[in-house]
């Protein structure tokens, strides 16, 4: 049992129950800063919880971060936990973060795909997708990062329910995706969306579904360079950056493309460590170094969002 968030081990991987218990502890320890919001439930009826970090105000400009939309990318949920603790611990002690939180709210969705994540712990460590049933197919699950209404169904996703990049029956068919869409649209004041994945050490920005450049391409590119300079300064970890389309391949229906097309200018996908020694089985002793370096990049983006209102 998690007694408090200080006795929790941040350098090991945890189950969904452990993470949800830990979330309750964090909220209990920081009631004036952190709250837990249930934004929906999964296909298998698990709750989807977002942590809200807010120092007050009404519907302040906000930053959204999600980790673990692909359930097997365990380093991302672990980084989300460490990041939440860091935000809660540093507020009021560290001037940059304090200033950020005095101007912006931060929403952090640590387990974006709870069904998939539970399945990685119980049945198949390599599971990536959701766990919804596909009519007419024996194959289960949809790639929730191909399910957004942004170039949905194009060639950068699969029509085959058995594929790891299956886009689903229609945009936002996955309750996990719909929950986020509804929340972000009803909030209406989210200025940055950071979707955290692993592994290939990249910082990507729109677009993925087209090779057209986004209207804010230059600003996104410059901020990516600055954020990665900060990230690399800690352990020398090398990242590449650019649009999803140009840097890796065409990917349709992705989170950040939807976010950008819905007015969230600073939309990025992180691909955390590593570059090819372990893949999705990144050893737990790399959680903290990964989270620490990622934090430096996140803060650069937070600062930019704070200083460049739109």
């Amino acid at each position: 049992l998690v007694r408090n968030t200080n006795s929790f081990s941040y350098s090991t991987y945890h189950t969904l129950d452990e993470i949800y218990n830990w979330i309750d502890s964090l909220v209990a320890e920081h009631p004036d800063l952190v709250s837990k919001i249930q934004i929906g439930h999964t296909y298998e009826n698990r709750p989807i919880y977002v942590l809200k970090f807010s120092t007050g105000g009404s519907n302040r400009p906000a930053i959204w971060i999600d980790t673990g939309i692909h359930s097997r990318e365990w380093i991302t949920q672990a980084t989300g936990i460490w990041t939440a603790k860091k935000i809660a611990s540093d507020y009021g002690k560290e001037s940059t973060l304090t200033s950020i939180l005095n101007n912006l709210d931060i929403f952090l969705l640590i387990v974006t795909n709870p069904d998939g994540f539970a399945y990685t712990h119980s049945t198949n460590r390599m599971w990536r997708k959701t766990r919804s049933i596909n009519a007419g197919s024996a194959c289960v699950g949809v790639d929730p990062n191909r399910n957004w209404d942004a170039g949905f169904g194009g060639p950068g996703a699969s029509k085959n329910p058995c594929s790891e990049t299956y886009h689903g029956a229609y945009p936002h068919s996955e309750s996990e995706v719909k929950a986020i869409v509804d929340f972000l649209l009803s909030h209406g004041n989210v200025k940055s969306l950071l979707s955290i994945h692993s592994y290939s050490q990249m910082l990507l920005f729109p677009y993925g579904y087209t090779n057209n450049l986004a209207p804010d391409h230059e600003a996104l590119n410059n901020l990516a360079r600055e954020a990665l300079s900060a990230l690399t300064s800690l352990h020398g970890t090398k990242y590449t950056y650019g649009t999803t389309f140009a840097t890796i391949y065409q990917a349709d229906g992705t989170t950040i493309d939807w976010a950008y097309n819905n007015g969230i200018k600073y939309s990025y996908t992180f691909e955390l460590r590593d570059t090819g020694r372990y893949g999705f089985i990144l050893p737990a002793n790399q959680i903290i170094p990964t989270a620490e370096e990622t934090w430096l990049a996140l803060v650069k983006i937070f600062e930019h969002v704070r200083d460049n209102p739109y």
Partner: protein, 93 residues
Amino acid sequence: QKLFVGDQVLRVTAKNEEQLTLLRGLEGMEHLQVDLWRSPAKASLPVDIHVPFHSLQSVKAFLEYNDIPYSIMLEDLQLLLDQEQEEMKRSRM
């Protein structure tokens, strides 16, 4: 619980677009049941392929026949997963 005993992850470095196209075709060969951890994108980027034990010989033969360089990134996936589980157990204790 699904086991991955003897499964390997191969790191493939395609030399040109033609080889990338061949690698893209691997996913469509359903009997091989490969899982592209890093999909074929461009020749400058590696491709990581999780290959079940029963398909190892076929996939390696395919790569060698087509002169596509590869190395073994993970020798036995299950060994790493066992270590991961062990570490989680230790941490809980």
